[in-house]
Amino acid sequence: MGYTVELMDLIKRVEKTRPERVMKKKAGQEFPALTLDQRRDRLEKYHPDFRAGALRELRIGPSRGISVAQEIADTFEARSRVDPDQIDLNEVHYETDVLVIGGGGAGTAAALLAQEEGSRVIIATKLRHGDANTMMAEGGMQAATKSWKDSPYYHFLDVMGGGHFENDPELVRTMVTEAPKAIAWLEKLGCMFNKWPDGKMFTLHGAGTCRKRMHYAGDMTGAEIMRTLRDEARNRVKDIGVLEFSPAVELLTDEKGRCSGAVLYNLETEEYFIVKAKAVIMATGGSGRLHMSGFMTTNHYGATGDGLVMGYRLGVGVRFLHATQYHPTGAVFPEQAEGLLITEKVRGAGANLVNIDGDQFVFEREPRDIESASIIRECEKVGKGVPVPGQVGRFGVWLDSPMIDMLEGEGTVEREFPAKFILFKRYGIDISKLPMLIYPTLHYQNGGLAYEPDGSTKVEGFFVAGEVGGGVHGANRLMGNSLLDITVFGRLAGQTAGKFVKDRTGIGTLSVDHVRRYHKELEEAEIGLDRVSPMVLPDYGNPEVRKRQWTSHYVGTLR
């Protein structure tokens, strides 16, 4: 275990340049940051979003003509798992007021608020309740709660600047004004945010914030929020039912085109079920497991963007799906830690990024997109990347964590980054003594389905919450705003849907006409009908084994 002999040899070069780099850092001499013009140039030349072939124009559907990531376009330009001519919609297997699709933070918050409006709720989720990107969020949750120095006004400015001023301002206003209420709500549900003895909450800076407003629970804020919300949903078992391993694969409407339920697929028994609901809340999260441009990802196993395509077929347009967030520092070695997020805090604490010669090539506190583009440039253009052992053609650069102990004193790395320290130690690597090999990793879906501040969409009965929606973060989300997004818009969508079902008198005849129309569009655009979506699960199976599965028939990635 530990680094290979070859890597240990290469690390000697890093060690050789380290004392001088530390000295410069102590003297306040930083590697020069890029100017705004240089930044633009670097993004356009090296950021994966700008690569030739990274995006393509959608040929059908409500956002026809808009460019999105190729892998997302593939799921949009595909037929449904449901055959409109075969499906029997007369036999309804479940009936409820509100159907929530997705059992992560946004979906669970929505379920709780809908229940408080008096609704009976079903949460349908692909994996277990809570197996979601929310669980994996480490850093924290932004909210302007300290009125002696901060306000929603400054939070608004930060969010807009981070998103290159392209964000939907109405959504941003809602998010920043609801933020303190979201914190108060989580606190009341028993979330253990880090606090002083008098109850005042700890807050930190994130990249791009002008005030310290990131609230956190150790380095597992998302897990603390997720398990608390899930526990509360379990206490309301009388009204909130959960169907695990039952992803939705298509939406249903009534004859007036109002969203009226969904088709679920039981992954274990391979059965399909019809759920009739007065309102549907889409909260399926992101799409990192589509591996945009072939990148590894920090996302959970089920993040395949299912809700995007279901909403799109229903007629809801998309925004900002050309912008994918790559986190600059994902582990590439050892293999078993691949894609694992190394928090931004490591660079914040002073660790340089260096190439195979041990030389710096970028200032370590550039914004995420610039930092990522610079690492890609160093490996692909300059050719000074470090070869990843056992993986031909893959490179990384060093994140020089031992500098932190030299700058801040022995033991700092272990104290400040306990989770990462233990993890690497498990693999025989002491990151207080040896650098980490990293490369940008696919982290977040900046865009998604278009929705209103109250969670509603242009389709009656259909609501959206969390990462599956797009607009609030513009083209680039800031650290700490995703946990905020899922809490605020999960709550609002739940509330709005709960109120909506009270006024909805009944559900007419169930229909999948929208799917029929969509399939016709596919045909007219001469797009082959061989692809099927949503993907549901990524395929990490062994192709050698697949060859021997003589009698298996696969629809997409699933049998």
């Binding site: 009125s147 120095k149 608004f156 807009m160 606190e187 526990d231 206490n235 078993q336 993890l423």
Partner: protein
């Protein structure tokens, strides 16, 4: 080497990938032999062997608790544990995932709970059956001293139980191994929620900010930003005062008109 390893049926060399790969090691998934690359985690080894995982796979990053795994090495009586996504395969290990294990969970109303021993005994009377064997602690993949928080809960020290169990991923291995049949992780989250709600003081600054927002203090400032053209917005953004990294908690900005 156990007899089972030596006697196991093996694929012919030419038909298996072992013919071209030299880095493969045998593992026994639920007793059945597979050759897998020695660098893989148990999770990826399952996939390499040909499984499309449905159960036993969630975040793939060691925090969701979906992939609890138990294993034993041949010739050893010791049961070891790990998360499949975090544990690298060992040659000749016998393993199974435990993606689900039934555990008692009480339904409760958090608002009505009191932070005392009687509360826990009321909802989880089986706590009293703990015989102090410490198997739970020995079987925690997160290296939490599980029995210590069970003892704290028994004593009514809810806050202590909450703190000790903070990094629990609720994978359930403790419950699967407990001779007293406790569902430790469900008791732990009840302790944490009681602590967050009823023991730790509420953050007053959050209450105050919510009141200010509800009194429409920020409606006009935000309206101004909504109406501002791009140039104005950029200017306000660039010129906004940064709270220094090292500023003390009571730092205040020069311009207080927008707070």
């Amino acid at each position: 080497m156990s007899a089972m390893v030596q006697g196991a049926v093996q694929q012919t060399e030419s038909s298996s990938e072992a013919a071209v790969r030299t880095d493969l090691v045998p593992i026994f998934i639920m007793g059945k032999r597979y050759m897998v690359p020695s660098t893989l985690t148990i999770q990826k080894a399952f996939e390499y062997a040909g499984y499309q995982l449905i159960r036993g796979c969630g975040c793939r990053g060691g925090i969701c608790g979906a992939c609890a795994t138990v294993y034993r090495m041949p010739g050893s009586s010791k049961i070891s544990v790990g998360l499949a996504c975090q544990t690298v395969v060992l040659p000749n290990m016998y393993l199974t995932m435990v993606p689900f294990f039934p555990a008692n969970r009480a339904v409760y109303d958090l608002e009505e709970l009191k932070p005392e021993a009687q509360t826990l005994m009321k909802y989880y009377p089986e706590l009293a059956k703990c015989m102090g064997c410490n198997t739970c602690t020995k079987s925690c993949p997160m290296e939490i001293p599980v029995m210590e928080y069970v003892s704290a809960a028994l004593r009514g020290d809810v806050e202590k139980a909450a703190e000790i169990s903070m990094s629990c991923v609720m994978c359930g291995i403790c419950a699967s191994r407990c001779p007293a049949e406790l569902g430790q992780y469900n008791i732990a989250i009840m302790c944490r929620r009681i602590t967050g709600r009823h023991i730790w003081p509420q953050a007053q600054h959050v209450v105050e900010m919510v009141a200010k927002i509800d009194s429409h203090r920020y409606d006009k400032p935000l309206e101004q930003l909504m109406k501002a053209d791009l140039e104005t917005l950029r200017k306000l953004y660039v010129e906004r005062q940064m709270e220094p990294h090292t500023a003390p908690e009571d730092w205040t900005p020069d311009d207080k008109s927008m707070i």
